[in-house]
């Protein structure tokens, strides 16, 4: 789908720019970082929406495994400043998509339910970056499986205080290296 491909490309470019802006002379530019984050968010939302409609149209979801994985691991990389064990509600929402891949027939409906349960996902739940245990819905068994299997979010430690900052993901770059937490931009 053209829209989702474009959305993905925009996200990839945003990530690259966010990453390279860290080494820019003069330090991180808040305005630019904010705009990139907003673009990435809207691209991600559109990508999700496109994926959901695509998967509701087509019964098979195998060919989309890699693509969806890209999306799910990226937002799952939560704030590294807080404890890595925090699970924002958004992570649970994206974990839904990954559960789709494993348990196909009914997970699809569950994913749809999740879409209904958290109707305005980004607006409401992306704010809850410091997810407490209460924010994490406990009717997601596959989420634990994801934690054991995928250690992406620990590699992707984000040093910025803005949400959705992701350094890299294993899908996008060949060698994700853990990036140490540096002084956050304007974290005062």
């Amino acid at each position: 789908m053209e829209v989702s491909a474009e959305a993905k490309r925009i996200m990839v470019v945003a990530l690259g720019k966010l990453y390279s802006s860290r080494t820019q002379r003069g330090g991180l530019r808040l305005h630019r970082s904010l705009l990139l984050t907003l673009v990435m968010k809207s691209a991600r939302d559109i990508y999700h929406a496109a994926q959901v409609t695509a998967q509701s149209a087509a019964p098979k979801c195998e060919p989309q495994h890699p693509a969806v994985n890209v999306i799910t691991t990226k937002p799952a990389a939560a704030q590294g400043l807080q404890s890595p064990a925090s699970h924002p509600a958004e992570e649970s929402r994206t974990a839904d998509s990954s559960t789709e891949l494993r348990c196909s027939p009914h997970a699809h409906t569950r994913a749809e339910n999740k879409e209904n349960v958290y109707p305005s996902g980004p607006a409401q739940h992306s704010r809850k970056r410091r997810g407490k245990a209460a924010a994490e819905p406990d009717f997601l068994p596959c989420k634990k499986a994801k934690l054991e299997q995928g250690n992406c979010h620990q590699q992707l430690i984000v040093s910025s205080v803005l949400s959705d900052y992701v350094k890299c993901s294993s899908e996008l770059r060949t060698a994700p290296t853990p990036i140490p937490v540096q002084t956050a931009i304007a974290a005062c």
Partner: protein, 437 residues
Amino acid sequence: MEEESDTRKINNSFLRDHNYATEADIISTVEFNSSGELLATGDKGGRVVVFQREQESKSQPQRRGEYNVYSTFQSHEPEFDYLKSLEIEEKINKIKWLPQQNAAYFLLSTNDKTVKLWKISERDKRPEGYNLKDEDGRIRDPSTITSLRVPVLQPMDLMVEATARRVFSNAHTYHINSISVNSDLQTFISTDDLRINLWNLEITDRSFNIVDIKPANMEELTEVITSAEFHPQECNTFAYSSSKGSIRLCDMRQRFKVFKEPEDPSTRSFFSEIISSISDVKFSHSGRYLMTRDYLTVKVWDLQMENKPLETYQVHDYLRGKLCSLYENDCIFDKFECVWNGSDSVIMTGSYNNFFRMFDRNTKRDVTLEASRENSKPRAILKPRKVCVGGKRRKDEISVDSLDFSKKILHTTWHPHENIIAVAATNNLYIFQDKVN
């Protein structure tokens, strides 16, 4: 006040890379002073160059007031914030002149973190005939002095000196994007991404924070301040623009008014937020209007009407279909400035390919001009340019795909009374004026 010493700090040598050699010449701001006699430019290397208009001479009437270099000085040096392990760029973000009150000229210049007040003064006489030292400055042997004399001021070659009179530092956590002098001539504001501070020109060790939009939780940040300016006459009023496309007109005695045009959902795209971010806000000279520049348009607002702009001008709407590639090559983040002419009848702003645009608010006519060496022989008349958007390209037109996006005119300024404009094209400064009859 102590003078700023001109010693190169140790940092300077290893912070400056060879790549910055030519980058340092990129002009980052231009500003006429309030009489139009002086024109200041700031560059990425932290230097300020001031041009002065030559007096019109009757013997050479065609040399109508050319601008020549008057003073050059290093305003800011690169610094290093050891606490945050961050380099502080020396690039001059903004220059604002103070109205002239005596023989000396004063301007404020700022980089990302520090504002400085510079005094530019002329010296054309020097005292000669000291008793205790001779003309070279060597101390005379007192035994050789047989009579006393009073030193006399003798004319000398004109020397223009720039001295830093005030340094306003350590008040901004984020990067300063604008400064504005109040009409009371006693205070000024400095603005960074999240805060606006009010200073007294005499006091450097404290400032008042008058606007703070930093959220308690930085993760909830949704907009930043992009520019701020004082009202030209009302000393209690200022305006600031945001990355979300809104302007707040603030009265320091009371509340603020928000100016925002509702978004057109039909034009929504991935990049709507970026292109609606306001890069510059300017009050009209009359104080009745505000002008804002976002990526594709210039808008004129009536201060009495907050819900929509009075006028909207398309600067380069042909770029609307190219936003994705402009995003990839970073051009979508370019911050263009806009400027009024002296009578507020014409507005001007820059574009790509070294084009700049002028809009006549009364006749509704607009023109695209180019600042380039080939087209700008001295005293040549600028030819209007046209960008071809459709299929068929006429002879003189340039197609959108041939535009050079590395040549951008971000900074322009207009003489306060006359039709003289200064346009910065990367590292070149162009000064254009009305043709003489």
